[in-house]
Amino acid sequence: MINRNPQLDENGVLQHLLTTEGLPAAILLHILDTAESFVGVTERDVKKIPLLRGKSIFNLFFEPSTRTRTTFEIAAKRLSADVINLNIAVSAQSKGETLLDTVNNLSAMNADMFVVRHSQSGAAHLIAKHVQSDIHVINAGDGSHAHPTQALLDMFTIRRYKHNFRNLRVAIIGDILHSRVARSQIHALTTLGVPEVRVIAPKTLLPKMVERLGVHVYHDMAKGLKGIDVLMMLRLQNERMKGANLPSAEEYFKYYGLTPEKLALARSDAIVMHPGPMNRGVEIDSAVADGRQSVILPQVTFGIAVRMAVMSILAGNQA
């Protein structure tokens, strides 16, 4: 059966941000443009604006996270919202309450927005499908599926440094198979018109039909990095080392870790990005992470502006 994109209402207005897939470029650009206007706010002495005054935002983190949760919290507070943080991994779910029971209970406390992180692909979609129509859901990462605000802040960063998307070659490097960040990046990049998106990884870290997402597949850093303008590194989860995905962190670093030598294969003005937290010496060398071409810390700063933009577009008092 054909389902309407669950993120948009019948007029094509954004109701939830669940994935970058299927969103028109105009909506993505509107988020980026709105974020631009908030970058100034975050640099002012008085950092608050009243767009979400009186709104209640629940951070529902069913999976631990420091950085993402914190940036959502800061973003909400700068918009003058009331923020409630719930680490559900250690509360209700361990008592056997289901995901939707938890959400229904919180809805009864007059929530306006849920920011959801969950270990299962599709959790945010499930919640969005079952909340009252006036509640908005932002996916802050679901399983291996999507992490749209991370992808949007990455797009914001790329536009800041490269000005537009139309002439870029972008490489995403690392554990594509398990990465919600990579999937959201790929959809955002292709929607925004990046002509060439590459993924570089050993075959054990690539989903079977990844080329169907519109990317070129490389297994060799030397070939894959040639002519690249933007390098998007992915975090390699430690647990991947335990299974049969990879033999060792050392071998991975040798062939896929980003060192200054490998970075030199890309364009000389290429930028290096990473969604954090980094495994130095596994997927990225400190000399690169802290080097001239790294934009990893600006990414974090822009993350706040981008999350402010998403929240204000979804639930802002009509400006």
Binding site: M1, N3, P6, E21, T98, L99, L100, H118, Q120, S121, G122, A123, H125, L126, H130, D142, G143, S144, H145, A146, H178, R180, R183, P207, K208, M209, V210, R212, L213
Partner: protein, 424 residues
């Protein structure tokens, strides 16, 4: 009770009958076709004008959820659902709690089912104790208790040594062995076909080779041992090609597909629709096409509903955590008719896939309208389209990917042993 079914179009694939003829039932048996026996006084006349009169359907996979899983469904609810779907004989997989691995459990199930006086229940005995794949069950005792075949139609296959011994032991008594081909070490926590949809949605996958490797092993063991094997719920084009080749070699292998895999593909998962969380997973549209063709050319012997009622809460979870299965016993007829119509098949050919063919696989005397046989009869309106809604479904499970769809074929009467057990 004597029943006269008049003016109906009789479709009896096994006997090659497709004609408007009256049918007469007495003492639970079909006593005459065409003309009434001498001094036949019907106590009930059913006017089957513009309806199809065919053998009661035989469904090779219906979970009744008893014993042990009554919160999902009960024998009462699912037996009512079966006859509402025109199904008069059902094979029940052993994946109950506890599994059907002891004669006492099987006897109890048979007894409970018999008291309900509805469809005939044929338990599939567990091939190994607790379905754990370690020790053989008492197959001969289980047979005496009422099991007709033995298998591991769900869950893990035993390791190859145990499987070989189980097949060898079953062949001693000429029992057939039912297996769902899936290599567990390649399945892991996979929930979806290894294709574009799983790639987009970030779901763990069950590769096709999990099925083909298992089929290959089973074919080789069948060749070695000579046991009758039925492969449950084949899902892939490649797997089917292997089965076709094995059949051409004359191996005693049969297989079935589910109504779900006949009509759906992984694309139907859409945005994580947990009603499409099925096992084996829904595969690509080209696999689906191969299953539809395989059924036409006889590689696939039968269609089953793979009925698995799930309580609503168990589906209101993220896709991978939601429970596997779909309710289906009431959709076997409509979805088979839909397939037949789409393939431009005669009604008789479509009806065979849910009557005479599954009866042959199960080894039971059912699925035909021969004079003298048990009056298990389904009378349905092939042109009546009805909407699948929670109200329209009697099963306690309301979980189906077909919810909301309009499907052809509504059962009007179901007879079991000459009794009208359902009418609408």
């Amino acid at each position: 009770m004597k029943i006269h079914i008049k003016n109906g179009r009789l479709i009896d694939p096994k006997n090659g009958v497709d004609a408007v003829q009256d049918l007469f039932v007495a003492k639970g048996k079909i006593v005459a076709i065409g003309h009434p026996p001498n001094e036949f006084q019907a106590s009930r006349v059913i006017d089957a004008q513009s309806l199809i009169v065919c053998p009661g359907l035989v469904d090779l996979s219906v979970r009744l959820r008893e014993p042990g899983l009554e919160y999902r469904a009960t024998l009462e609810s699912e037996m009512s659902a079966a006859v509402a779907g025109g199904v008069t004989s059902i094979a029940c997989p052993p994946d109950t709690d506890p599994p059907l691995d002891e004669p006492g459990l099987v006897e109890m199930l048979k007894h409970r089912a018999k008291n309900l006086n509805q469809a005939h229940v044929y338990p599939i005995g567990a091939l190994t104790q607790g379905l754990k794949g370690e020790r053989l069950t008492e197959m001969a005792e289980l047979y005496d208790a009422g099991c007709v075949v033995f298998g591991q139609p769900d869950g893990l296959l035993p390791n190859l040594r145990v499987l070989m011994q189980a097949m060898r032991y079953a062949s001693t008594f000429d029992f057939s062995v039912w297996l769902r081909p899936q290599e567990i070490s390649l399945t892991g926590d996979g929930v979806a076909h290894d294709g574009e949809v799983a790639t987009r949605l970030g779901l763990l996958t069950v590769p096709i080779c999990a099925e083909t490797i298992a089929i290959s092993n089973i074919i080789l063991l069948t060749k070695e041992i000579g046991v009758k094997v039925h492969l449950c719920r084949v899902s892939s084009a490649e797997g089917l090609a292997m089965i076709r080749a094995a059949k051409q070699q004359g191996l005693p292998i049969t297989c079935d597909v589910t109504v779900n895999h006949l009509h759906l593909s992984d694309m139907d998962i859409g945005f994580f629709d947990s009603n499409c969380h099925l096992m084996p997973p829904l595969r690509s549209s080209s696999d689906r096409e191969a299953l539809r063709q395989g059924l036409m050319d006889g590689t696939v012997d039968a269609i089953c509903s793979d009925h698995a009622p799930v309580d609503e809460d168990a589906k209101l979870l993220p896709f991978a955590q939601s429970e596997i299965g779909a309710t289906g016993v009431e959709l076997l007829l409509p979805l088979t008719l839909k397939w037949g119509a789409e393939m431009r098949l005669s009604l008789s050919k479509a009806v065979a896939k849910m009557t005479s063919e599954p009866a042959r696989i199960l080894g039971i005397n059912a699925g035909h309208l021969s004079i003298g046989s048990s009056a298990d009869i389904c009378i349905f309106d092939p042109d009546h389209y009805w909407k699948v809604t929670p109200m329209a479904i009697l099963s306690q499970g309301k979980n189906t990917p077909f919810m909301g769809m309009e499907l052809p074929g509504r059962v009007r009467y179901t007879l079991v042993n000459g009794h009208i057990v359902y009418e609408q």
